[in-house]
């Protein structure tokens, strides 16, 4: 893991565009991520079956930085009166423009890189785990080998030398695309074109998730979805943990003031007692 002692020159924001409509659930991205980032298998390579479709990874965490989700939408009706489909989505850290994990990290281990991505410095993190509960997407967790919080680095070591991340390189259908986010040839423009194309084909539910600034200031890893975000395990309205900082601190301060007053009134030795001849010797 690279460490950053000085801020490199800021570059154009880069990120991922994940088009879920062309994901085939091959999990090449998961394998490439594990291999490149040397993320060990947790079960000696014998992954027990979860029983949840083809999803045996189950979640993103410190050992799994890519997670292909399988969402089965099959009608229970034997006549198949409703359309059946299988949604697949390769999930990853969203590299939020306003990142909750950076807000709460007390050690400065979580930094924003020159690509506008979010990276945890493994040699700085001390494993306090504040970032885990701050992430509105449930992306971060402890890597049991490194004993620190870890997540996708957007292959910072590869991108700094001009390579694309391992997952997007391995993706056979270009479901995961890496590149600059903005501009006429940026990922956001490509994504808008793709949405338009799908709508013209009758896929009315096609929508982008995180491409604008409505979700925590924007997601540098954004998605094209064809159903509600919750169906994919994505929160519709994720929040930053700092939304509670002001009100919570203000109320606690009010509480402290009330407490001080109650203490002064309750513990005060009565004035008459004081005058009753007890010496006010503070040097006792």
């Amino acid at each position: 893991m690279a460490t950053m002692t000085q801020t490199p020159a800021r570059r154009e924001p880069h990120g991922f565009f994940t088009d879920t409509t062309v994901c085939i659930g091959c999990k090449a991205c998961e394998v490439a991520c594990k291999q490149w980032n040397q993320l060990a298998s947790e079960t000696g390579g014998q992954q027990p079956l979860s029983g949840d479709s083809y999803d045996n990874t189950q979640r993103l965490d410190g050992m799994n930085w890519r997670h292909v989700k399988f969402i089965e939408q099959f009608s229970a009706d034997p006549q198949r009166t409703q359309q059946s489909r299988w949604l697949m989505m390769s999930d990853v850290c969203k590299h939020c423009v306003r990142a909750g994990c950076i807000e709460v990290c007390p050690t400065g281990a979580i930094i924003r890189t020159e690509f506008d991505t979010v990276v945890i410095q493994a040699d700085t993190c001390n494993g306090c785990r504040a970032c885990i509960s701050a992430c509105p997407f449930g992306v971060i967790d402890i890597n049991e080998n490194a004993k620190v919080a870890q997540k996708c680095t957007l292959c910072y070591d590869r991108t700094t030398i001009g390579e694309q991340p391992a997952c997007s390189k391995a993706c056979p259908t270009a479901s995961i695309q890496y590149g600059p986010l903005n501009g006429p040839n940026g990922l956001k423009a490509k994504a808008q074109e793709r949405v338009q194309q799908l709508k013209e084909q009758g896929v009315d539910q096609a929508q982008l998730y995180g491409a604008d600034d409505k979700i925590v200031g924007g997601l540098n890893s954004f998605y094209l979805l064809v159903d509600r975000p919750q169906v994919y395990g994505l929160p519709e309205n994720p929040q930053l943990p700092s939304r509670n900082l002001g009100p919570s601190s203000a109320l606690t301060t009010v509480g402290a003031a009330v407490m001080g007053l109650l203490g002064l009134v309750s513990l005060r030795k009565k004035r008459m007692d004081h005058f009753a001849g007890q010496p006010a010797d503070r040097e006792r």
Binding site: R129, P241, L267, P279
Partner: protein, 318 residues
């Protein structure tokens, strides 16, 4: 109900954190009460205020050990305050753990000085020796000593209260649904400190009738406040409680612990001590024990109730 909170992961803050929250509250509260007694009490209160200082420093030191043990990389505890690449101070006012670390450090300094000053016995006058400067700071510098106690009390209140802010500045269900956790922890923490001082004071025969009544009165106010805060707290998390997303076992398990907090930890001690005429040493002792048990149970339910909500993402996602 805010489904976005169900997509998050619990931070695995469990027993060490529960213990830390408990002793941190006692530490902050003990210093605050001791300082208040020194500021507005009488000379006969000095024995109990000294006891407060003697509790505060070891308690916060013990709490720090719990905090360090809770880290996945305990030897990197100093990263909380120093940037590990540059060794420059690291402070983020908007990160509760960061500002909490500095509050604890400040409080430990105040509590440490007061502890060393309190090591001098009530009858001793340290004209020389290593403890003299500390004794002078706390007791012998007039206005500056008072200023020391007031500043120390602010840090003590911060230590007792920031833990609640820490829980609310997350994206976890229950914790992030309320802004009252800091205030609640503050009242509960100081209440447990009053209980500790009453227990120790009675046991060591250091507490007079008058001070016992004053401490019990203070605790009554705190318990009444705690009761009101608990009602407001329940109202603030009602949306999530009534969402139907939480499993039934969550309600029965943590509901029982919460009921214990309210009935045994708040109502029962209040009933035992609220009538001044019927306040005896035995009723005060029983009330103090209940307050301590209730204070611990409050932290247990506050931390674990959210920690144990996991893998509900799909439930909320539909």
């Amino acid at each position: 109900m805010t489904p976005s909170e169900f997509f998050t992961v619990a931070p695995h803050w469990t027993w060490w954190i529960v213990f830390y929250f408990f002793v941190g509250g006692i530490a902050g509260g003990a210093f605050l009460i001791a300082a208040l007694l020194d500021l507005v009490g009488g000379p006969e209160d000095r024995q109990v205020s000294r006891m407060g200082y003697l509790i505060a420093f070891p308690a916060i030191s013990l709490g720090l050990i719990f905090l360090v043990l809770d880290l996945n990389q305990p030897l990197r505890f100093w990263h909380m305050m120093l940037e590990n690449h540059t060794f420059m101070p690291s402070f983020k006012w908007y990160s509760p753990i960061s500002f909490g670390s500095w509050i604890i450090a400040g409080f430990q300094a105040f509590a440490g000085i007061a502890f060393l000053a309190a090591l001098v016995g009530p009858g001793d006058k340290p004209r020389s020796g290593p403890l003299r400067p500390f004794h002078k700071i706390v007791y012998g510098m007039g206005f500056l000593s008072k200023l020391f106690l007031i500043l120390g009390s602010i840090f003590a209140l911060g230590t007792a209260g920031y833990t609640g802010i820490l829980l609310t500045v997350t994206n976890r269900p229950v914790w992030a649904n309320t802004n009252l956790m800091g205030w609640l922890f503050l009242f509960s923490g100081v209440s447990t400190a009053v209980a500790t001082l009453i227990l120790l004071g009675i046991r060591r025969k250091a507490i007079g009738e008058d001070l016992l009544h004053r401490l019990a009165r203070f605790d009554d106010w705190l318990l009444i406040g705690e009761l009101l805060l608990i009602v407001a707290f329940l109202a603030s998390i009602w949306e999530i409680l009534s969402s139907g997303v939480l499993p039934a076992t969550w309600y029965t398990g943590w509901g029982l612990v919460f009921a214990f907090v309210v009935i045994a930890g708040v109502l029962a001690p209040l009933i035992l001590t609220i009538r001044s005429r019927s306040l005896t040493r035995s009723s005060a002792t029983l009330a103090a024990v209940l307050v301590l048990l209730g204070g611990f149970a409050l932290r247990l339910v506050a931390v674990m109730s959210s920690e144990t909500i996991h893998q509900l993402e799909r439930v909320a996602g539909g």
